[in-house]
Symmetry: C2
Subunit: 326 residues, 2 copies
Amino acid sequence: MNELDLIKNYFAPLSTGETGAFGLTDDAAVLAVPEGMELVVTKDAISEGVHFIGNEPPALIARKLLRTNLSDLAAMGARPYGYFLALMLPEKTDEAWIKVFAEGLRSDQEIFGITLMGGDTTRTRGTLSLSLTALGLVPRGQALRRAGARIGDGIYVSGTIGDAALGLQVARCKLQVSKEADAHLLERYRVPSPRVELGQKLRGVATASIDVSDGLMQDLGHIAECSGIGAVVIWEDIPLSDAAKSALPLVARPHETIAAGGDDYELLFTAPRTMHEKLCSLAKDAGVNITRIGEIKPGDSVKLVDKTGREIYLERVGYNHFSSKR
Amino acid sequence: MNELDLIKNYFAPLSTGETGAFGLTDDAAVLAVPEGMELVVTKDAISEGVHFIGNEPPALIARKLLRTNLSDLAAMGARPYGYFLALMLPEKTDEAWIKVFAEGLRSDQEIFGITLMGGDTTRTRGTLSLSLTALGLVPRGQALRRAGARIGDGIYVSGTIGDAALGLQVARCKLQVSKEADAHLLERYRVPSPRVELGQKLRGVATASIDVSDGLMQDLGHIAECSGIGAVVIWEDIPLSDAAKSALPLVARPHETIAAGGDDYELLFTAPRTMHEKLCSLAKDAGVNITRIGEIKPGDSVKLVDKTGREIYLERVGYNHFSSKR
């Protein structure tokens, strides 16, 4: 298995939709950014033993890496355009692994209308590591930002929160609920659903936006810090899947698991009260539920409270250790 | 040492020239591509034990990674714009290492007028791995390509060839010439000089272009394959530094070392005979020597010959194993 054959057999076919990728035969790709648009660029790196166990089906590793980057684009309100991929492969990685990895990319390229545009394939003496750079387009000046939330704005999330953190416990055999619930939670952990349609619809409506990757309360903290405001989230208003509801009584630290578990890849955003009806309608068009879970407040503290207003203290607010993305 | 502090202390200051990087606090960067320009994107990955030994000064690792990517941009005729960096750091990497690594980036940012725009910092359980995505700008439709060389075109290289391959032998204590020569060769191996000015001046003049990374003859083979032509290079015309000239009698396989050694990061390009004077003038303006080393021929073979026309057979044409870039 040599590098040029790998590229020719498995990766060049993923680039055929994009003329500027030159079938991955040139030194770089050339992209035309349409007039009036800006380019949104995000880059993530993942490594075996830190971000994935290593025995996952390779198609799932591929899809999760692609989808977490698409989630970053969604948080900025961008439409996915293309991506670049670096693979650092240990000796043990065989061609069969790469074939299935590339098939995972292909299936998600079709779902999200995105194309491979270039990258690098190399050996490593360490563990399998991957880096993906995703490019998106947004009308000039309309990118959603973490800064912009205003006092009185509602705080919203898409989908349900906490499934992935519970799914990780299922994957690690630390949690068993029911066959159906376990499958749902595991799927939510392994294959996130980046809210790319909703993200684009939020342009001009949301005042601030981020995707929930480090944990709900920590990511809300990022919005608060960048916007220079505080926030309160009501525990009972956080949307949970049926599977998460049935799992919660079995979990040692339910509040931490849900509100600080991370890996949700749902959108967390703020918008003025007057936009509530419009938001619900946009979300419906995008085919995803949104839920109002709190409100932007004066000050700089980010609090989780129960419906009586009593604060719930979390032992940790998010995925704080040296691991996640910028 | 936590991730957010690392970014704040060492990487955010490298992004201050670029408003769309948002001080590395957002999910992604936003770039405005000027009207009439296209974006050129290249991505490389390097890993300890494969692309570098690991005991190099971290500033040199940083600079080489940045410069090899700038060399890809130069080969396409693009002006450097910005870059994204993913660091996958093993536990042993301490803050002092990162500080010096970031200083290396800073010094090259000043030299090449380029700014950090985003990226990812993460732990790995494997070896130190890095991935860099570099962005450049080129007037629409004017990017230089590997395809385009025509029969009768002259074949040119910038600078001198073979220094880096000899420098690697010095680094591995397999070659010792003289204090002065060793220092020159080692420096050429450790800190390549991407020909970003020359590359931009070659737009509209060169018919095909690539940077020499895998080895002179192999990279010429890429031009030949993409252009559908053959090529002949004259051994005695390949430009050598004084250090390389004095090292060559000490080397087991001089032809392979020079013409297949790789890591030169010089530009290899083709142009019609009528452009020779213009090329020399452009190169002078860019402050770099260029040398005509051969000619594009009919057919599909890429040959190295001596000045009498006798073919020199290489045991290997380049850095062919599973390692280098796409």
